[in-house]
Each structure stands twice: as structure tokens, then as C-alpha cells.
Symmetry: D2
Subunit: 422 residues, 4 copies
């Protein structure tokens, strides 16, 4: 990133001109940038500002940023670059070869989950497989740039270092009246729930109509609360196109199919069955004896439930293991890096993601998804939603509600929408 020494060399102040364009006032981007500069000990002069007259017109600002030292200046530029402020005298991104397998070079550029471009040979190239907390590997011959995980680094690969020659496209604020309007106060429990559920239903119906794909990330409370049949129905009708879960969801789903219980509680009447706590272990053991879930279905042993419907309707499922698993089922991927790799593959064509009653899997998938995939996170415990937002999955809409009545109402709303459009 080029810089320009201040004319007044005596003061040793360092200066750089940056520009920022777009809905920078309406979207609160410019104030944020000005704020960062002064809060970080720098100063700015607005050299030029053009504010769009109509709401739709973009604005533009040219700023002179001054800092007491070169180091401080670079820090400021690095930060405001994430908000779209580009140094006028742009350089290409800097590349450094990895000196070992499995770790980035020091100073590596750490990605966000938003659309990003890097400048290669004077041209801005869009980064592929956008994902947060990755490095960006560059193939200069092919003129491509791609996000890559730390564990996948091979010695000699070229990685972007520093913020020079990088720019991200922060999402401009959505127009009100469109999309998820309940997005703002995501975690409040005291909102009209029928409206929120109707919006989720609309999203899922539109996703299906547009040929998009909906991913369900689910926890075992789906089965415990008696929502199994609702999810089966969504799978059969093509509203869930992929399932990510853990050993627990699949195990209790199979337990209820084989024994009629979930964690030993009868799902038809709520009674606790004596010795029923062993059911889930016996279910796992049987699946292991049958050779896995798909063989169990093919042998006619497993005849109902979420996993059965996945097999029957060719809905891919991915079961990621954890250290609290009993068993686990034959199908569970016990290595977390393997699981992450397969999840990355699995989310490539997802356009809508519904996360229900699982903190672990929701955060794991939230880490992988680019910012433009809409996510709705449903949990009766507000802390799950708070945690997800704290960890940077800002596109997530939280819905604090109860799982079974949620799915029941969701299906009713989908029915209503299908009738309305047919």
C-alpha cells in the first residue's frame, strides 16, 4: 500500500489518501471510518464529499488520513480497509510463500465471511470459497485467489500478507420491508411469533421454487420434543435438502423409530420408561451391527424417522462427531478436521440455512458459511443466538421459541403458502 509523506516533514506525521464510495452515509459506513481514524489516534481531512441526493444515489468521499507514525498509519489503513476504504495509490496484494505445511506465514491476511477481492497484477480478482478466519492462497498463473484453512497449507503456496491490495464489500443495509424484518432485535422473546414463522416459511417455499437448497442443522431436542414427524414431512416435501447433525440427533431419531422413546421418554405419552435410558445405546449398537444407517434402511430394519427419510429421498446427511458421543453410529465422522472438510463441501450450494436447537453445530456451520447465505437460528435458549452473533455470524436471524411448536406452525404456514400459490 503506497503512502505519501506529509509535506511538513518536521512533524514526522505520515499521510495517505483513501477513498470510499457507495451508500456510505445512509449505511453508516463513513461515520464508522471517521470514528476509527480518530479513535486510533489519527486525524482526517475530508478533501471531497459528494452526498447522493436521492436515497438510491451512491455517495463518495476522499479523505486524507494522518497519523503520528508510519506504523500507526498502517494500522489505521488496515482497519478501515475492512470497511471499504481504499488507498488511492493502490498496490497489488503482497504475497509470501508458506515456509512450512500447516501454518500460514506471519502477517497473513485473515479473511472475513464477506465478498472480498484482491488485486493481482493491477486487477481486482474475487476470492473463491469465501469463509471467515482463512488465509487467501493465490495462484498467479491462473490469476485466482481462494480461501484456505490453516491445516491445509502446503509449503511453497503463496499467501496474501497484510491488507494492501485487498478490499471487502461490506453488506449495505437492507431496505426495510424486505427480507427478514424481525432481524433487528433478534433475541427478544416477546415478539409476534406467527409473523416470524411465516417469514421462515416464505423463505423456504421461495428457496424451493427458485431451485435453491435448504440446509437443516439440527440437535437432538428435535427428537426429544417430538418434532421428528414434522421434520420427516419437510424432507418428504422437498423443503430440506441437506442435513448436518451429530451422533445424538441420529441416535435418538433411530431410538424413537425402534423403541418409541427418546432418551427413554415415550414420545406418545411423555412417560419415562424404566431402563429406557439404555434404548439409545441399544439403537447405536444395532446400527453398528447392521453396518450403518443406509444398510439398516436397505435391510428393512429402519422403517421411519428423519434418517430413514434422508436415505429414502436422497437427502445427503453429514453426522459430525464430538467427545460426548456414545457409540457412535457407524456413519459418524469422528475426526473434526475431516468433518470440517466435508461440511465445507456440503455447504457450497446451500442458499438457506435453518439451525435448530444445537449450539455446537450451529457455530461450526456459521463459521463456514459466507455472509450472503441467509441463516435462521431457532432455540428456546437465548444464549445460543447471542453466542452465534458474538462469533461473527451477523447474517443470522435468531428466533427464540420452542422447537416442536415451531415446526408444527412452520408446516401449517407452508401449507397455507402452497395453497395460496397453487
Amino acid at each position: 500500500m503506497a503512502k505519501k509523506k506529509s509535506a511538513a516533514a518536521a512533524t514526522e506525521a505520515c499521510t495517505e489518501r483513501v477513498e470510499v464510495a457507495g451508500h456510505i452515509i445512509d449505511s453508516l459506513i463513513l461515520p464508522k471510518i471517521l470514528d476509527i481514524i480518530t479513535a486510533s489516534g489519527g486525524a482526517f481531512k475530508i478533501e471531497r464529499i459528494t452526498i447522493g441526493q436521492a436515497r438510491k444515489d451512491p455517495s463518495y468521499a476522499l479523505l486524507e488520513v494522518t497519523a503520528p507514525s508510519e506504523e500507526r498509519l498502517q494500522q489505521i489503513l488496515a482497519i478501515i480497509a475492512d470497511h471499504g476504504a481504499v488507498a488511492v495509490s493502490q498496490a497489488d496484494c503482497r504475497l509470501v510463500a508458506a515456509d512450512m505445511d500447516g501454518a500460514f506465514p506471519e502477517g497473513f491476511y485473515s479473511s472475513t465471511n464477506q465478498r472480498t477481492e484482491v488485486r493481482l497484477n493491477g486487477e481486482w480478482v474475487e476470492v473463491q470459497l469465501q469463509e471467515m478466519d482463512m488465509g487467501v492462497v493465490v495462484d498467479p498463473a491462473a490469476q485466482t485467489a481462494t480461501c484456505r484453512a490453516m491445516t491445509e497449507v502446503k509449503q511453497g503456496d503463496l499467501y496474501v500478507v497484510g491488507h494492501a491490495g485487498t478490499r471487502v464489500h461490506p453488506p449495505e443495509r437492507q431496505e426495510q420491508k424486505h427480507g427478514f424484518e424481525f432481524m433487528n432485535s433478534a433475541v427478544s422473546t416477546e415478539k409476534p411469533k406467527g409473523v416470524a414463522i411465516r417469514q421462515v416459511a416464505t423463505e423456504m417455499v421461495q428457496t424451493k421454487q427458485r431451485g435453491g437448497k435448504t440446509l437443516l442443522v439440527g440437535g437432538p431436542a428435535i427428537v426429544h420434543t417430538g418434532s421428528d414427524e414434522h421434520v420427516c414431512e419437510l424432507i418428504r416435501r422437498g423443503y430440506i435438502n441437506s442435513l448436518f447433525a451429530g451422533n445424538a440427533l441420529a441416535t435418538h431419531d433411530i431410538e424413537q423409530s425402534l423403541f418409541g422413546t427418546s432418551l427413554g421418554v415415550r414420545l406418545d405419552c411423555g412417560d419415562i420408561v424404566e431402563a429406557g435410558h439404555e434404548h439409545h445405546l441399544r439403537a447405536i449398537n444395532r446400527v453398528r451391527r447392521w453396518g450403518g444407517i443406509r444398510p439398516a434402511v436397505e435391510k428393512g430394519e429402519l422403517k421411519s424417522g428423519i434418517m430413514y427419510e434422508c436415505v429414502k429421498h436422497d437427502v445427503p446427511y453429514l453426522l459430525a462427531g464430538s467427545i460426548r458421543d456414545d457409540g457412535p453410529l457407524t456413519d459418524v465422522i469422528t475426526d473434526s478436521l475431516d468433518a470440517q472438510r466435508q461440511m465445507r463441501e456440503g455447504i457450497r450450494d446451500i442458499t438457506f440455512c435453518l439451525m435448530v436447537a444445537t449450539t455446537l453445530h450451529s457455530i461450526a456451520v456459521g463459521n463456514l458459511l459466507p455472509a450472503w447465505v441467509k441463516v435462521v437460528c431457532v432455540d428456546i435458549n437465548p444464549s445460543t443466538v447471542i453466542k452465534l452473533n458474538d462469533r461473527g455470524s451477523f447474517q443470522t436471524v435468531g428466533l427464540v421459541t420452542d422447537v416442536e411448536p415451531f415446526f408444527r406452525s412452520l408446516l401449517a404456514e407452508i401449507d397455507r403458502l402452497e395453497k395460496a400459490t397453487s
Copy 2:
């Protein structure tokens, strides 16, 4: 309560014989009593024990209780009396006249919410208006005993003092398979919810069929979550026969009727209306101008909502004030003692109580209800249910779920039951 000095006078140990009868082993009463005796520094000898052979046969035990001092002995007897252990040489209850208005005599007997009898002139008399944390006032002429609040004490009234001549009938454990089977782990969020809601529906349908009365104790989240119309439907169909609430529920119900919003949030689409936070205040102000809720309905100004339906269907409502109220509405009882008095009147013929989304009113009503009135407490926040149980309302079944989907599912289950029985 008679006592018997131990033969070994030298040791100064004091002794009393008590008996206990009923399902004392099956219901865990005997072990509890033995436990209390030894934990309180006493000792026991089981002089006689008859254990029922069949599950239905009652058992009987005669114990000799020994304590190191007379004072300790009386303490122990006082405690185990609450578990049904009766001193064999029974005395009448002791009566002391109140020496001032508004306070009990020292040592007053403090009531529980379970069926209680006191011995007057050798006869056991059932206490009227059973309620926890009351004194028991006795009219010797009429041979009656009645629970009475501290604030209602008049100088000269006779109050029971000590545990002598009192006995309570602890509820024997309910048979499994009957009543609310989900009662046991009340606060878990991970239970089959459809089953629990079906049981509430069954209870409400049976209450109506038997000519019982259902009381709804509700908070404003009923309106905020968009459940207003569900509750209106329950009132119209005769499933809610009385309503206890605060200023907030009535205010936001009327706000949604007049403005279509609740706390400024549009209930049809979830949008936040600018300046909508003033709506509830304007609603209160209008009701005050109209002279109250009933006049507002009669003048044709208030045309829908929970309060409207209460007026139209002669469902009595009681609005109790609190220090966080705006306004309040003309109908709100602002004095807490007045409110408690009117609530006491209002719960006399209630046979089933549904508490939804209000900690304050749920605890207040829970304090007033005798133990034999079934209570279901619905809240998305487990802490409300935990608090209710911590304060002694043990008959309460907690259901941790979301308000709007709860009412929606409840109505669907009631529909199903009505069809099944018609």
C-alpha cells in the same frame, strides 16, 4: 400436645409417642419422618409397624420419639406434625386472643396450602379458606376454623398457637399413568411438547364438561407474541372463565385493538412503527377518558381483543396494579392489599388455573390457591417455573415453551378433543 417424661429421669430425656398412618412407606412419608427426628437430634424407637401387603392397603407406625430436652422435643413434634405424625395423647389446639389489630399473637400457627384440621373440643374440624402463610382464626361457638391474613386480624379474635391439635393431610403420591405425567421434571425444555399440550387441553375440556372453572393468569407477552386472538377464541368458547392480569396485558390488548400494535410493534407483520411506543399510553388515556373498559365496550369504542371478549361474555376480570404501571387503566386496583382481597374472592370456585408469561401474578395467585387446585405454568423462561416451585406451589406443573405456539397448539388440541367426543 401431651408428653411423657422418660423413665430414666437422670438423663432428662423427654419422650412422646406419635402415630402415623396411610401410605406412609409407599409415599415416602415414614422415612421422611424418621429422617427428621434423627437429623433434629432426636431418636426414635419403632414400637409397632404394619406394612400394607398390597399397594392399596394403608400402613401404620407407632413411634416413640425421644429428645435431649423438652424444648427440642416440641420442635421435633412440631415439624413431623406437618407430615401427618400425630401425638397419641392428643390435646385440643391452643387458642390465644389477638392483642392488637393487624398482627397475630406470637407463636401463631402458620398455615400451609394443604387440607388441615384443628381439634376443637375433642373434634377434628376442617379449616376453611385454606391458604398458605395465614393464621387460623377459631370461632368456638360456631365450632369453625378459618384461614385469615395478618392484615385482617382484629383484636380479640382467637388464633391457633403452636402445632398441638393441628394436623395436615399431605397429598399422597399420585398414581403414575394418571393426571399430569410430565409433572416430574417440570422445568426441562427437552420433553415431548405435543403430549404436554394435549394434557392441558384435556384438563380444560374436562373442566368445562364438569362445570368447573378455569382461571387464566396472564402477562403482556400474550399480546406481544400475537396470541391475543387465540385467547379471545378460548373465552368465546367457554374455556376461560376468569382472568387475572395486570395493567400491561389489558393495555397492550387494547393498544392492539385500537392501533394494531403491541408496544409499538405491528402484530400483522412485525414492523416497528415509528412513535408506536406512544400507542400504549394513548390507549390508556383513551380508556380513562371513556371511563373504563366496560364503558369503552358499551360505547362501541372498544371492538375486539381479550378485554372486549371478557366484557361481552361476562368473564370476570381482575387487573392488579404494580409500581411499574403506566397510567394505569381506570379498572386497575392500585392497592395491593385490596387486590389480594379481591383475588381471594375470585379464586374460591376455580378448579383449574393456567398461568402464562407472568412471574409476578403467577406467584401472587400461587400463594392464594389451595394445594388441590391444579396449576399449569407456561413460560419460555425456566426461571419463572423454578421460582414458583421454590415458593411452595408444589402442585404447579411447569411447561417451558413459547406462548404463541402454545396457544395455537392448545386450540388445535381442544378442537380435536371436541370432535372426538361429539
Copy 3:
């Protein structure tokens, strides 16, 4: 509020010129106003804009607001007036006489908790006793304006109606590095707690040094968790200058002084005392027999605890009643309107407010406080803090932590600060 018909009368569009000044860009005020205009169906032209070069320089903008109808225009003006946008051709505020006792005239101006001025005879006059959700009564002779509650309205009083001639001063964003820096993500539980507690300690020490007054609003969990002695120490050392609470805090405080228990739990060892659940009732009864808390202290009956220290150190206390109270104590104000009146008096000279473990009293006091009184709300349950913010007490800093360790650490930090400054 004056308006100016657009030149193009054919289009029927209505226009008004408004100005806004201050840190309108840095504080995000201008973008918000532009946003409201377009989101409400209006349009704007920026006629003039001056952006301060340095961070400290104020900016100024003159906007022409256009709306499709006069009605719409007035709506927009009303909303943006709350953000400091003032119509250039200002009118005086409109006054309407109350036509009845106990209710405002229709269309009354509803106050916020921020500094507000109304224009009387061409002059801007500051509103007295600023409080949210009030009307503004004007005395034209004295040229004064004052917030007044709905229930206090007297027929014939003059109230401000509409937004014309009113302006509020929204708080400009605080500089980072000053005041409560943990303010931003108030409800997260995963923040460095030592820092937050140190800041509360600093605030309390400074309040004392400056001659300000700290109000404690507290719930009974203060006693249940064993924090009684910590609070006593704060009172003795002059760090708590006023106490607002309910019957429960005072009752359990007195219970622990008389019996060593809180709700029947021994505070020295955590044991549950059999029959200890009666202790609080016996404590209330005794206080009623003694004639109140002050007489109990003066008679030498009550010798320790929070209430004792309040009496001994002339710290005024206010106990507001609620419908869930047992007893209550002689000192409790049972009428909620009386309680609100006395609370209003009590908060007049408060400069810092610490709310601990009570939702009801925290919201009640939050409703009364003007926006410039700093509030810290401590609760282990995040939902209390969320509720407080949802109801408009935006100056509140939430601290999700446990009561007893909070007070213990707070005292340690105050000790440290006292030593550092002595």
C-alpha cells in the same frame, strides 16, 4: 409547525425545511434522519451541509423534506423532531386545556426521558422533572413547562399537544475511553468482569467524592445469596445514600437478623432449617407488633442488617408493595400510585443508580429516571437486563453476574481505590 407548499402545486407534494446541528454525522444522527424520511415515504434534498473538519467541530445540515400529503409530512416531521430536526419556521408549542381530571387531552405530547424544550412565546423553555411517558403541563404566566403523570391531571391545566414547538436533545455518542466502556454489548456474560466491577466502584467513589447520591434498587436475592453484610458495609461507609426495595428484601433482611435464615436457609452454612419457611412470616408479624422498622430499631429489637443500617445512618428507604407480598411489613406502601409519587420525590437528587436482582423495581425506577442519570443493572439472569433495555432505559449498563461475588468484589475494589487516593 409552519409548512411551505411546494411550488409545483399540481403534484400536491408538501414541503418543509428543517435544520439539524451538532455532531450529526459522527453521532449517526443525520443518517438516521435521512433514513426515516425515505423509509416513511418522503424525500429530501440536502440544501446545505457543513461537515466539521475536526472530530470536535459540529456539523450542520439544512434539509428540504417533501411528502406526498400534508398528513404524511406532519408524521415525518413529528418523528424526526425526536432526533433533533427542527422546522426552520418554528411555531410555539400548541396548548390544550385538560377537559377532565386524570386524563390528558387527545393528541397530547408524550415525553421521553431526554432533555426536552418547548417553545413558549418564541422562547425555548426547558421541561422540568423530565420523565418518560408523561404529559407536559405548561404555566404560561410563569413561562414554565413540567412533566406530569396522567393520574395527576387536573381539569383546566394546559398540556402540550403535538410535536410543534418541541425539541429533544438526544445524547451525543460518548467518547470511547471514557465512562462505561463495557456499555456496548451489555448483556454478554463472557466479558472481563473484574474490569466492569472496577468501573462501578470508580463511579461510586467519584459519586461520593463529588457529593452525589447513589441509589440502590434491590431485590431479596441480595439477602438469599448472603450479600447482606456487604450492603451494610456500603451503607456504613456512605456509598449507598438511598434504598428502594420491596417487602421481600426488607423481610428477609430482618428474618436473617432475627433467625439467621433467609427463606428458611441458614446463611452461615446453607442448611435448610425445618419449619424455617415460617421465619419470614414470623419476622413480618413481629415488626408489625413493634410498629414498624424504625420503632423496632429504636426499641433495640432489630440489631443488624440492611434495614437496621439504613435507620442508624439516616439512609432513606422506600418499600413499595406488590400483590405477591406476605404481610406486608408496616412500612410498605401498598398503593402503587402512592409508591410512584414517593419514588419520584426520592429520585430527584440521585446521580448514580445501582439496580441489583429485581426486575419489577428496576423497571419501575428505570421508568422514572431521566436519561442523564447513570444506571448499572446487575442480575445473573440476562433477561432482566434485556427487558430493561427493551422498555427504553437506554442509559442502563447491564452486568450479567452473580450478586454475592459482585458485592464482595465491589467492596474490594472500593478499598483499593480509597487507598490509592488517600
Copy 4:
């Protein structure tokens, strides 16, 4: 398990005599057994009963259990065997050879976490490596029995099948006044916290004095809340002898050592550092470059923090991976089965376990621990403790409090105890 046909063969009722001994009344074991029999459709006759006169004397009961069918009888016997009821005419346990690797034979005996014995050649042999949800593999030659996980099964190994020849020793109720008295209402937030923390301190001091070992199972909130230094102090002073955690705790601990932040929040002042969200990723990358945590310490790169102290004081640490991990650190065990195996090794000599602010790791470790290892689970969110109890870790004492003030108070109490005993 031998059985005895009822004399009245016509009725086809099946009968078995069982005996049960110990504190069966005091510990509520007998009532539970009787309850199970009748609730399961069986009947009982108490043939003999001896109730201990003193609290310490054991009782004994001989029951004749009757059921309508042989199948039902076996079901009943299987259930009551878990409560210590032993068929008088005992058989050896039944053994079946595993027919494949990685799965138990059908009908396998599923272990609890309580002391268990199996009968081999007429002798009762204690099961080794007791752990819940395992099979029991028997070596008839060595006359030994051992818990083994499903995934570790080798074809041909002999596994116990059914309940015959097995007996468990349920924990008798602890005397009040000893051990953790706050155990009863584990999840309430309204208890005297100082007492509870003092008891944890006492447990840790006694564990150290007796030469026991304390295991800390911790989540990253330990670092986020600023408790790092407290934990370091506990390690240095020998109060933490083993650490189980995940990638997050170690990462943020190292982040705070290298950058002074945790998740980008400065721990000294609570400020959010711009671009600080990248710190944890840069920390992981550096550790990977250094070759792991131990090399980082040995090279002098890592100079403080929990992980540093573990290395310096030879406290073994185990970092188990999960699918939400960034990086992860070189030391993290990414395969969940490997991690479980190493955790099993690691808990063998643990006598006290402190779980802080991690649901995943707490449940995982709770699954592995035998019932006689005391566990205290500290979390600000009550749901973690509820979940742990729901999953069968009944020896767990839950403490709902805030992490940083907890550790601060814990250290103060340990100091106090050390002084008292020195």
C-alpha cells in the same frame, strides 16, 4: 437368575424371592423397589422385614415378587436389580461372545456409573474401570470383569448379557451436615454463595492434603471473563493437577499471553481492539509454527498463562477437538474416539473434578467418571447444570454463578483455610 413357579400353577403367575439389605428405608430404596414392582404390573409380599432401630443400623427385607408372566417377571427383576434387589437363588452372569468387532452382542448388559459386581463361578467380582453406558467384558480365566466401550469390542470377547448375576451398589444417602450440603437444590441461583464456594475450597484443600488429584475441565469463558491469573495461581500452588479443555480455552489463553486480549477484548480495560478478532487466529498460527505449546514454552516464546503454567508445573493437559475449532492448535486431539480414550486414561486417579463454563467438555467428562468421584459444575447459565444432571451425572453439584468472581472468591477461601491449618 433362578425363578420359582408359583404353587398355584393354574394362574400361571411366576414368582421369585429377592432380598435387599442396607439403609433401605432411610435411603428410600425399599419404597422405590415396591413402587417399581406394582407399577410394572407385579405384586409383592413382604416375607420378612427388619428395620434398624438406630439410624446407623442397616435394615433387611425379603420379598416375594409375583408377575402374571415369566417375561414380565424377568423385566421386573432386571429393573429392581439396579436398585440392589438380588434374587435369592442367584445364578452366575450370562456370557455371550461378541460376533463382530465394534458392536456388543444383542441384549448386552449396559453399565451404570455406580459400583457393580458380576457373579463368576459363584463368586461376586467387582467390575473394573466402572463407567456408564459400557458393556462388561469378562475374562473367565483371570476371573475379572471390565467396562469396555462399544468401539473397542473385539470379536470373540465374552460380554455379560442380561441382568442375571449382576448387582449394583446404589449410593446410600449421605448424612446431612457432611460433604456438600448445598447439593439438594443444585440449580437455584438464590442460595448463599459464600457458603458454597467455601465448601469447594475445603474440598480442594483436603484433596491436596490427602494426596488426591483435582481435575479442572474448563471452557474459554475462563479467559474471556479475566480469570486466567486465578487459574494460574491454583496451578502453581498445586490445587489443579490435571486440565481437560478444548482448543478454545488454550487458544484464548495464549492469545491473552501474546496480545493481551481474549477474542479481541483487552482484559485490562475491557476495550474492544479493532482487528483484535484476528488475534486468536494469529496465536494459533504461531503455536503451529513453533511446533506446539510445549516447544513454545521451551523456546521462551510463551511466557505466561494457564498453558504455560501447565507446562512449567508438569500438570498434564488434554485438549480435545471439536468441529467449531479454528486452527486448531498443534496439541489438539482432533479425533473424538482418540480423545475419549486419552480422557479415560486421564481420569483414572482423579478424586475431585471442577467443571467450569463448558457444556460440551463437562458432559463428555461426566460420562466417563464413576459415581464416587465428586464433581462441582460451575456455570452462569443454569441450563448447563440441568443438562448434566439430565444425562445421569447425579454426583454433580451445580453452582450457578459467575466465573471470574467465583475463582477470585475460591482463592480467597483457600488462603483462609491454609492460614487456619498452618
